[in-house]
């Protein structure tokens, strides 16, 4: 049956290719919500006799979690299971909050190389605050189901490229439309702080090494000036719009599609994510955010350990994407980036751990946190760094990141430690909906594993 289904979908894929002249668009293979055409139902569910890892408080042995209408209704050892609830016997299992990766491009890229039609990542030009990830997120991307069945229930999905890349969305990895997926549709503005040097690894880093540091710094200052000018314009734009709203006798200011979306960010009402890895970039981003009165978050943060005291002093959180990256410099210690989270934790800096990946690698998020724990971070903090900490940094800890009454029921039921490789996910709830643990990968496995 599965094989037939896949073959049918594959032949559809082929015919689509022919029609589109070779470009492959995202297909709904492996996305059960798409196959059913509707979301799985919210209802009343109870997971009983399980170890409940609340993350916000102590673990509860032999506890029960009750889910109703999308929310966590009750948690504890002496919880009444409502009549009519569907129950899961959690004996020997553990319940965790779903993991959150705060630094991805999930749903914006299907195949990055050789299939440009599947890439909605970076707009033309340098200043694109009007590019909104939530517009382009593809609910039928195979990456969505492939990722969630490994326990990652939420991502921050960010556009890339240019100086101001656009606005990131915080989404549930479940939904038949981007609207259904959206938790925070406009979660943050994304700014690429001008780079002082190429990255540590890759041929790009080799070729892009600036010929001259002084020239690079001057060029960076010019780029920063372009961002500054746009943000100042947005402040003025916001003031003019406010003035007109109060006094309609004033001349009506023109609407501006570029400046308008910047207003809540320049007013500090929403966070600004600065992509910054090197020490000079991180310091520059903090300085710039202070000057412009922005609410900064650092994304990347390979050198954050060097800037820990400043990050702590200014209370700037960091989304660390480099735990698995090669160290930036040849003479960095071999474990510099493995240890980065532990050093920030010791310094009291707010941080979370992310894969920093476009999509395919996001399911490995627990391994990034586990590696940090192998190099000094406590296991408790490692777990928090992919659950509660990203929720706090993205200002959604009232809804996500731990198992507490009233929060959105994004829950993962496992047969072991959530961060361990050999652990399997047994049940998954997103937004209180039970999610079938199938994906493009499980379906291809089912189709071929018994081929003789």
């Amino acid at each position: 049956m599965n094989l037939l289904k896949i073959l049918a979908t594959l032949s559809l894929l082929v015919s689509v290719c022919v029609v589109c002249g070779g470009s492959i668009s995202a297909q709904q293979i492996g996305n059960p919500t798409a196959q059913q055409g509707v979301l799985p139902p919210r209802g009343t569910y109870a997971i009983r006799n399980a170890r409940i890892v609340t993350v916000s408080g102590p673990d509860i042995e032999n506890g029960t979690v009750v889910i109703r209408d999308g929310k966590i209704e009750a948690v504890g050892t002496s919880v009444n299971v409502p009549a009519g609830a569907q129950t899961i016997d959690g004996h020997g299992l553990s319940v965790y909050p779903g993991m959150i990766d705060a630094g991805t491009n999930m749903g914006l890229v299907e195949v990055p190389q050789g299939a440009n039609g599947t890439v909605d990542l970076a707009e033309v030009g340098d200043l694109n605050p009007n590019a909104k990830a939530i517009i382009a997120v593809n609910p039928y991307s195979a990456h969505v189901a492939v990722t969630r069945v490994e326990g990652v229930t939420n991502t921050v999905t960010a556009p890339a490229g240019g100086l101001i890349s656009g606005q990131a969305a915080l989404i549930n990895l479940l939904g038949t439309s981007s609207k259904e997926m959206a938790v925070v549709p406009y979660a943050a503005l994304v700014i690429n702080y001008p780079r002082v040097a190429g990255g540590g690894g890759g041929f790009g880093g080799f070729q892009q090494q600036p010929a001259n540091l002084s020239e690079t710094l001057e060029a960076n200052a010019r780029e920063l000036d372009r961002i500054r000018k746009l943000l100042r314009d947005a402040e003025a734009y916001g003031r003019a719009q406010d003035a007109y709203a109060k006094d309609r006798s004033l001349p009506r200011p023109d609407q501006n599609v570029v400046l308008e979306p910047l207003v809540p960010y320049v007013r500090g009402e929403r966070p600004v994510i600065f992509r910054a890895d090197r020490e000079a970039e991180i310091r520059g981003a903090i300085r710039f955010a202070e000057e412009m009165k922005l609410k900064p978050i650092i994304l990347g943060g390979d050198d954050a350990w060097k800037v820990a005291s400043l990050l702590k002093e200014k209370d700037v959180p960091v989304i660390l994407t480099g735990v698995f990256s090669l160290p930036l410099r040849e003479d960095d210690f071999y474990d510099t980036l493995y240890e980065n989270p532990a050093k920030l934790q010791q310094a009291g800096v707010r941080f979370c751990i992310s894969t920093g990946d476009a999509g395919a690698e996001v399911r490995n998020l627990p391994l990034y946190a586990g590696m940090a724990a192998a190099y000094g971070l406590s296991k408790t903090d490692a777990l928090k760094s992919v659950t509660l900490y990203p929720a706090q940094i993205m200002n959604v800890a009232d809804r996500l990141g731990s198992i507490d009454v009233g929060k959105m029921a994004n829950l993962v039921v496992t047969d072991g430690d959530l961060l361990e490789i050999r652990t399997h996910i047994r049940y998954l709830f997103i937004d209180g909906r039970p999610v079938v643990l199938s994906s493009r990968h499980t379906e291809l496995n089912d189709a071929f594993k018994n081929r003789r």
């Binding site: 492959i24 299907e110 195949v111 990055p112 190389q113 050789g114 299939a115 195979a142 990456h143 040097a197 540590g200 690894g201 890759g202 041929f203 880093g205 080799f206 090494q209 010929a211 001259n212 540091l213 002084s214 698995f324 990256s325 090669l326 160290p327 040849e330 003479d331 210690f333 071999y334 474990d335 999509g359 395919a360 690698e361 399911r363 490995n364 627990p366 391994l367 586990g370 590696m371 724990a373 192998a374 190099y375 296991k379 961060l419 361990e420 490789i421 050999r422 652990t423 399997h424 493009r440 990968h441 291809l444 496995n445 071929f448 594993k449 081929r451 003789r452």
Partner: protein, 467 residues
């Protein structure tokens, strides 16, 4: 002049750190009371392992060592064979000779860079042996080199003695130059399709067969006829003759079903074996055909969708092929990923439910078999090379890390020694920064930062297109 001096200084830094990396080898090391993952003979609890003269000299309880032996308390620790990475480009100063479609005349052994710091980072992940492959820019690429990561030693000591010679083949998008833009006025290199890839390899083997015939005839008749002229040596065809004679392993980069079956059929026709299908992301779809040919597969654990030919990749690949009887290894193709191949192997337990032993084999004895070094490394057995790593927990736990890595009984990585050296290195660095050539100029341009000698290799997505 300034630039030259600072470059010299940076070379100096490198040389000193390399010098410190090499340590005096104790004649003997005795690891006591550890959990030993032998790979071929199960897991042994509370067991001693004795390393002597570069070999594993004993495995058992209450082993005795000489008075000057280094004793390591292995209580709570795990001993496993050094990890073997069957697809690496570490320490290669260049990866692709991409100008021709058949470059069997070039050798990775000619471009070994022993100062590549990523080698040290790989040692710190318990890796001891690498299969250094030519890139995937052409249907028939250059010759590979199998090395032990003897970081700090001369290049000649890296070469793995007795490893089977090999050659890189490549099929699919990289060979077709799918991601290489057309240059106006420049004709694209042949081939441009998977059809042309087949034709290119077929043509090369037809020429190699003729060349072999010419030499065979010459050798048969040279004794009888003193005036016979030997055929002209052909450096391109010689390695292919070795393939035909079974003296050189073919490691073929591939992705999709059509090209895997194509190469199997072509190899059967010409009478040689493909030793490994590298990557083989769709190998699970033709596992029985790969097994029937007798080929191995060296794959990624779970990379997928980075290009069209990788869109059907699934993380169950290792399990499906293993169950079909294919010898499978888990490789890195990345200086980054090479540092955590233990995690990559463990993924085969998560996806596809391989047993712990099956999963451990993916990074130890299986790649050893694929490189023809299974009598030397890949398991912990008496008489094998003392290439092992001591882990502070089970290597399949994400919370574990390497304490010490040995090659031929000598320590090439030790976490405690690494930590102990850091204060001195910081001092040395500070002193160098204060040195005259490294001070910023009073005016004008600041000094140029030294370039990295060799960029890290990240993954296959760019392997085919870079020089």
């Amino acid at each position: 002049m300034r630039v030259t001096k600072s470059l010299l200084l940076s070379v100096f830094i490198c040389v000193t750190s390399v010098a410190q990396a090499q340590r005096v080898t104790p004649e003997e090391t005795l690891i006591r009371n550890a959990t030993v993952l032998t790979i071929t003979h199960g897991t042994l609890q509370n067991t001693d392992v004795l390393l002597r003269n570069g070999k594993i000299a004993g495995i058992g309880k209450n082993l005795n060592a000489s008075a000057n032996a280094r004793i390591i308390d292995g209580t709570g620790k795990y001993v496993m064979p050094g990890i073997i990475d069957c697809h690496s480009h570490s320490m290669l100063d260049t990866i692709n000779e991409g100008t021709l479609s058949v470059t069997s005349m070039v050798r990775t052994a000619d471009v070994l860079n022993t100062t590549d710091v990523d080698l040290y980072r790989e040692l710190a992940g318990g890796v001891t042996t690498l299969n250094l492959l030519h890139g995937s820019a052409n249907p028939i690429g250059g010759l590979n080199t199998v090395v032990k990561i003897k970081y700090g030693r001369p290049a000649s000591e890296f070469i793995f003695p007795g490893a089977m010679p090999g050659i890189k083949f490549a099929l699919g998008e990289n060979v077709k130059r799918s991601s290489t833009p057309n240059t106006p006025g420049v004709q694209r290199r042949y081939p441009n399709t998977r059809m042309g890839v087949e034709e290119t390899i077929r043509d090369a083997f037809i020429r190699a067969r003729d060349y072999k015939r010419a030499w065979d005839e010459y050798r048969a008749n040279a004794g009888k006829d003193k005036n016979l002229v030997p055929p002209r040596r052909d450096l391109q065809l010689e390695p292919l003759v070795e393939v035909l004679e079974g003296k050189r392993y073919v490691h073929a980069h591939c992705y999709v079903v059509s090209e895997i079956l194509m190469l199997i059929n072509l190899a059967d026709e010409f009478g040689f074996k493909v030793k490994t299908f590298q990557h083989a992301l769709e190998g699970y779809k033709v596992a029985k055909e790969i097994a029937a040919h007798g080929a191995g597969a060296s794959i990624f654990a779970d990379s997928w969708a980075y290009k069209i030919e990788a869109y059907d990749a699934i993380p169950y690949n290792a399990a499906i092929m293993t169950r079909a009887g294919v010898v499978v290894s888990m490789n890195s193709d990345s200086d980054e990923r090479a540092r955590r191949l233990n995690i990559e192997a463990a993924k085969a337990m998560h996806w596809g439910d391989l047993t712990e032993e099956q999963a451990l084999r993916l990074i130890t004895i299986n790649p050893a078999i694929q490189l023809g070094i299974q009598d030397r490394v890949g398991s912990i057995e008496v008489g094998k090379d003392a290439d092992i790593a001591i882990w502070n927990g089970h290597p399949f736990s994400v919370y574990s890390r390497v304490d010490t890595t040995f090659i031929d009984g000598a320590v090439y990585f030790d976490r405690q020694q690494d930590l102990a050296r850091r204060a001195d290195l910081a001092k040395e660095r500070a002193a160098l920064e204060q040195a005259d050539p490294n001070k910023p100029a009073a005016q004008g341009q600041s000094p140029q930062s030294p370039r990295r000698r060799r960029p890290s290799h990240e993954d296959d997505t760019i392997e085919g297109d870079q020089p």
